[in-house]
Symmetry: C2
Subunit: 407 residues, 2 copies
């Protein structure tokens, strides 16, 4: 039996949403049993495209798509998860393929030097590129939507506001931020909450941008941007915040990560970690590891929490914003496609198609897959003048009572 | 150097809140450095009382107090944690003492039969006893206070309401409850949310009471109380809830516990676990294990979450209500002391003093110690018509928008 016959016979048993495959020899077949508005056609222009999918999973799919051996009619986001379906996964990657993955993961480990290289490869693609499709505050993390129809610009401001409220930021407080992107949160918090921000980042392009931004806003006395690794941070602070950095830390470093928080945070301080998480522990998808986030690892809550408990932090609140991230990615994709000609000019067609797989795959992994977005709020030591509930996260008119019996 | 001299010299180095010790020989000394409104005097009437504290920790303190060898002037709740202070803990329990603990923990394991025995010893002390100091809905779990001055009766109704809102209960839905106490939550949910409750409990006295209560309320068609172990539950349900049972399950059974939830909950169902948790993993305090909750074990989040992840449940929300529990215990103690003469009549002075140590110690462990109260809300499978945020937990007038893009 040849590959095409075998694939066809396996897919014929598929019980999910309907989709079509157009093979290189011109035959077209519809698989699946459920009618769906998310119907798509995947066109396999070469036999090697099919080989890539069945033997090399998401990495094979991604590369074949990047090379133009695969085209999709309909939404790529609905298609990207198909190679992960069990019916496509009968063939496990070969030992040689697996060894390649392991070499790649090892090469990209997050030593102080390795992290710089990993971060450089993604975040230093050029500020102009990211400005094409992010919001104007350059928030490259999950937005927070107050109602389903809200736009991205507003939702990104909401996200910053949401974090400030959770941390109960007060004028004059000192805040350490590890992983600050282009500085949007630091500038927002300094401007609207009067805190003194000290923000770390190892992306050279981002930190340069952040410094200039602070200057333009006349906030240089309240915001300090430092181009250095979180592990080299110094001083102690009233509050700790990290938005979208844990994804780059790597499991090996979680003990160091939580130790750093413990050392930088004053007693009775609050901290917040905002990170993508997985519903259960699993290694990084090979396409993502190779092309998008070298050294990246999305943890499950069970992989983070023991390290917070080791430091005796009290977990106050864990909030799951997974569909907010799916919606954020919807907007990023929309803006990316609107500016796709400019992206093609900056890079090339292969890059465009790579970024498409990345954004589409990410969106689907939040809406249909195992990805979630967690905001973990915690306290160092016994913090007893806390809020009675979380209504003030949402409702600015709420009187926001605090406990007072044990202070 | 004798025991008294040694203790005195150690306590003289104590840096915490001031307190006094009155020794059996009549000498009185003040220790600590911080002035405090929580000042107390601990009277050690015998040398053996001191021996018990320094060699046998909380168990020695508890037993010496039960026997009347210790009296406390001031609040017992402020005193109970003192034996756990490092200055009192220079002497570790002897090997013989430790072996006794291990024997006790082994004897009280939560097999199907063991659980019945363990639960019987606490919850079958008599409904009349619990009615003396619980609220009128007999909620023997953490209440939820909307403002600091709210009373217990209202706060316990709030707690039931809070759980119903988190689970988005709708008329006609089926709900399985494991560990239902006297049935208060089941009756509330059936009455106010129109759900069909199936509630399990192995306490004979409690389940008898619950059945009669349902009858009085004419809710027998909507509430089924079953005297059986959660592990023997059958059927499948739209929602799952467990309020204050996990504390009795024991680490050995967490895999079975989460498997039971998985088997009983329909796909796309929501579940809620309400349980005392610890800031970090630690064994059960020996006094509690011996006198109050044989077989009990308070888990850390890191001990629960892996089992939920194994079942691929998506964690939606983790809420920490620790100071709500401290406040709840404040009211229970107040009511207990108001009815202490009746308790003494039902049992004896030793029981009264035992219960005092228990309630006081529990209160302090929430306000000053490592205990927290977690409500963990989770979903089975991809539930995408979820709320955008948690405001509706608090605000009944809120329009409560749901996501709709991925359903």
């Amino acid at each position: 039996m040849n590959l095409l016959t075998m694939t066809d016979s396996l897919l014929s048993k598929y019980r999910g949403r309907k989709f079509a495959v157009e093979y290189w020899d011109g035959t077209r077949k519809v698989y699946g049993t459920e009618d769906s508005k998310r119907f798509f056609t995947i066109k396999l222009k070469t036999k090697s495209a099919l080989k890539n999918i069945v033997f090399r999973g998401s990495l094979g799919f991604g590369e074949a798509y990047m090379n133009g051996e695969i085209e999709v009619e309909g939404d790529l986001a609905d298609c990207v998860s198909i190679p992960s379906e069990p019916y496509f996964q009968l063939f496990r990657p070969s030992v040689r393929e697996k060894l390649k993955y392991i070499r790649m993961y090892l090469k990209n480990r997050n030593t102080l030097k390795g992290s710089r290289k990993n971060i450089h490869s993604h975040y230093d693609l050029g500020n102009d590129f990211y400005r094409l499709w992010l919001d104007k505050n350059l928030q490259y993390t999950c937005a927070y939507f107050e109602y389903p129809e809200q736009g991205l610009e507003e939702a990104q401001i909401n996200k910053m506001e949401y974090v400030c409220r959770k941390l109960e930021l007060k004028p004059g407080e000192s805040v350490i931020e590890t992983g600050c992107g282009w500085g949007g949160f630091a500038i927002y918090a300094a401007k609207h909450y009067g805190v003194k921000m000290t923000s770390y980042n190892i992306s050279h392009e981002q930190i340069q941008y952040a410094k200039e931004w602070a200057k333009r806003e006349n906030l240089e006395d309240r915001v300090t941007f430092i181009e250095d690794d979180y592990r080299n941070a110094t001083g102690t602070y009233d509050k700790y915040v990290s938005i979208g950095m844990l994804e780059h830390v790597g499991l090996d470093n979680y003990e160091t990560f939580s130790k750093t928080i413990d050392e930088r945070l004053k007693d009775k301080g609050l901290g917040l970690i905002h990170s993508i998480t997985k519903v259960f522990p699993a290694p990084t998808d090979a396409f993502t590891a190779k092309y998008i986030f070298p050294g990246g690892l999305i943890p499950a809550l069970s992989e983070i929490i023991p390290h917070l408990e080791n430091r005796k932090f009290t977990i106050i609140d864990i909030d799951n914003l997974r569909l907010h991230y799916a919606r954020t990615l919807h907007f990023w994709r929309e803006r990316f496609e609107k500016n796709v000609d400019k992206v093609r000019e900056m890079f090339d067609e292969r890059f465009v198609r790579m970024w498409r797989v990345y954004l589409s795959g990410a969106m689907t992994s939040f809406s249909d897959g195992p990805m979630t977005l967690s905001q973990i709020l915690f306290a160092k030591g016994k913090v007893n003048n806390v809020r009675l509930n979380r209504r003030a996260f949402y409702d600015t008119n709420y009187e926001d009572p605090h406990w007072q019996y044990w202070t």
